[in-house]
Amino acid sequence: MTQNYEKLPQDAFTRIPRDTQEAEKISKPSVSFWQDAWRSLKKNKGAILSLILFGLILIMSLVGPMISPYEPNDQTITHANLPPKIPVIENLGIMDGVGTLGGREVDLYEMKNVEQNYWFGTDGLGRDMFSRVWKGTQVSLFIAFVAAAIDMLIGVIYGGVSGYFGGRVDDVMQRIVEILTGIPNLVVVILFILIMDPGILAIIIALTITGWTGMSRVVRGQVLKYKSQEFVLAARTLGASDSRIIWKHLMPNVLGVIIINTMFTIPGAIFFEAFLSFIGLGLQAPDASLGTLINDGYKLIQYQPHILLFPAVVLSLIMIAFNLIGDGLRDALDPKMKD
């Protein structure tokens, strides 16, 4: 190859003079950490789809009970146990109001002289499942978000203080956490639910009573890692106060981990709420959450599977969406995972 240099046409190349001004120029606009994270999150199809799906579920949980003409707790006994019926989709042979009665397939709406359509059918007391499912979703999401927010708040403060001040403070605080994490979550939650009046508040308290320890451990680890680095030392040398170092220098670095952790706390809280409701320790009738709806539906699984189907599907979709969003965020925000 090297011998063929002479054969190359000389005019195919032009000399570019070195420009010292140009050398310093940055060709691409600089990207902040969050822009970069957003960019890699956008590439993750599962996470984006889940984000959209969750957005839809959230909107439905807010407007669903309103667009349905029936109140979630209104009972119409004559309309009990109707299968789902949706105007347009019924022509496809599904959700057409046909159910089995005494072994025969019949249009139960015609038989019971029901003029209205119940999109998700009705339960054993003739309550509209559509508004109940979305109302229940609303309650479940509310419990999960509040529980996750409290976990985050306590965990970040506890872990931050423990990690930042270190020494004896850290020792004492960590011994307490070690004992608390030793107690199985399941046991604590059940015991606390037992002594409190059942309801949303009781579930939130039970979920947060030891739920924050995971967050505190992660935050402590991160704070420990960053506080000994040079940029913190530099800030301190320049006379920055503790609160300035924490909020201006440590927080932005720890934020990613906090977000990831919260994204995994939320499905955990949703699961536990549903779990408690399923074993009969959750909300009391007539209030509904996804868990109590699944529990009600389960009792009628043999004859009215649609009552179980809808809340179970919504619950599963929320859980899948959150896990995928969490995975996507972890890949996007965790620099260790970056390629």
Binding site: E178, I190, F275, I279, G280, I294, Q302, A312, L315
Partner: protein, 311 residues
């Protein structure tokens, strides 16, 4: 190492003592009476019943009686659910079915999970990989009670392949509950093994093995798989927790006479001594599992032992 284990054991006892104390006093402030139809009894009859269960003693006496009983493995007597039976005996008699479905679920889940994860890692970014990832996400996301009711509906009611519920047909009765419990371990193991395998497959000694001329299956099993397997021990703890949590609902759904089903019932009827006994039993089980996992991991991977000892 001995120091580390010793320290962990001390923590374990502190935690257990705290749980026992905590449970005991919570039970005392619990609303409602464990004595069946308590309102209908005359004060004298009530006094007789309370004396029978030691409920007439002052609180500190009850407490120390209970704690010393615990040291001897005595969890007290059941008040209404099992009419005076010893709680320890009740728990032991119900351990069989719980242990069987728990163990089968764990085994099935881990083995399938490892298989899924391995195949996914070796065939990265193919439909096999995507399929196994979807299974893993579904397994982690769908709660065991939803999955269990689905299994019961399709395999039990519709297709009549397995018994719908009850513990009467031996192994056949345990199939559906075991599958329901297996989902979480399966998903966890599959995700974990996939990540570990991909990391190991990219390491230098795999390149060396390839350069040496080792065959694909030899690399996969002899080199990559073995090293990917070790860290799986760390997720055994969360898996045990999930099996236990799952057993409460799965046993309920399939009407299996296990510990979980009895625990949920005892909550409904306020049987203090059964609730306390089972709580302590669950705690001991989980704490011991986590301790064993930590020690095992320290034994297998000396790097962990060093940092673990310092902590």
């Amino acid at each position: 190492m001995a120091r580390y284990i010793g320290k962990r054991l001390i923590y374990m006892f502190i935690t257990l003592a705290l749980i026992a104390t905590f449970t005991f006093f919570l039970m005392k402030i619990l609303p409602g009476s464990p004595i069946a139809s308590a309102d209908k009894l005359s004060p004298e009859q009530r006094a007789v019943v309370e004396a029978r269960y030691g409920l007439d003693q002052p609180l500190p006496v009850q407490y120390f009686d209970y704690m010393f009983g615990l040291l001897r493995g005595d969890l007290g007597i059941s008040i209404n659910q099992f009419k005076g039976a010893n709680v320890t005996d009740v728990i032991l008699s119900r351990m069989g079915p719980s242990a069987q479905i728990g163990f089968q679920g764990m085994l099935l889940g881990t083995v399938l999970g490892i298989l899924f994860g391995m195949v996914a890692a070796l065939r990265q970014n193919t439909w096999v990989d995507y399929g196994s990832t979807i299974v893993a996400i579904i397994g982690i996301s769908i709660p065991s009670f939803v999955f269990a009711s689905m299994l019961q509906y399709w395999f039990g009611l519709k297709w009549d392949l397995f018994p719908v519920a009850l513990w009467k047909d031996g192994f056949m009765s345990s199939v559906l509950p075991s599958i329901a419990l297996a989902m979480f371990p399966l998903a966890t193991a599959a995700r974990f093994i996939r990540t570990e395998m991909i990391e190991v497959l990219g390491s230098d000694y795999i390149t060396l093995a390839k350069a040496k001329g080792a065959s694909g299956s030899e690399i996969a099993f002899k080199h990559a798989f073995r090293n990917a397997l070790i860290p799986l021990i760390t997720v055994l703890g969360p898996m045990a927790v999930s099996i236990l949590t799952g057993s409460l609902v799965v046993e309920q759904i399939f009407a299996i006479p296990g510990i979980g089903e009895q625990f949920v019932k005892s909550i409904m009827v306020n049987d203090f001594s059964i609730i306390m006994g089972t709580t302590i039993f669950f705690s001991v089980f989980l704490i011991v599992v986590i301790l064993i996992v930590d020690i095992l991991y320290g034994v297998i991977d000396p790097r962990i032992r060093l940092s673990g000892g310092k902590n």
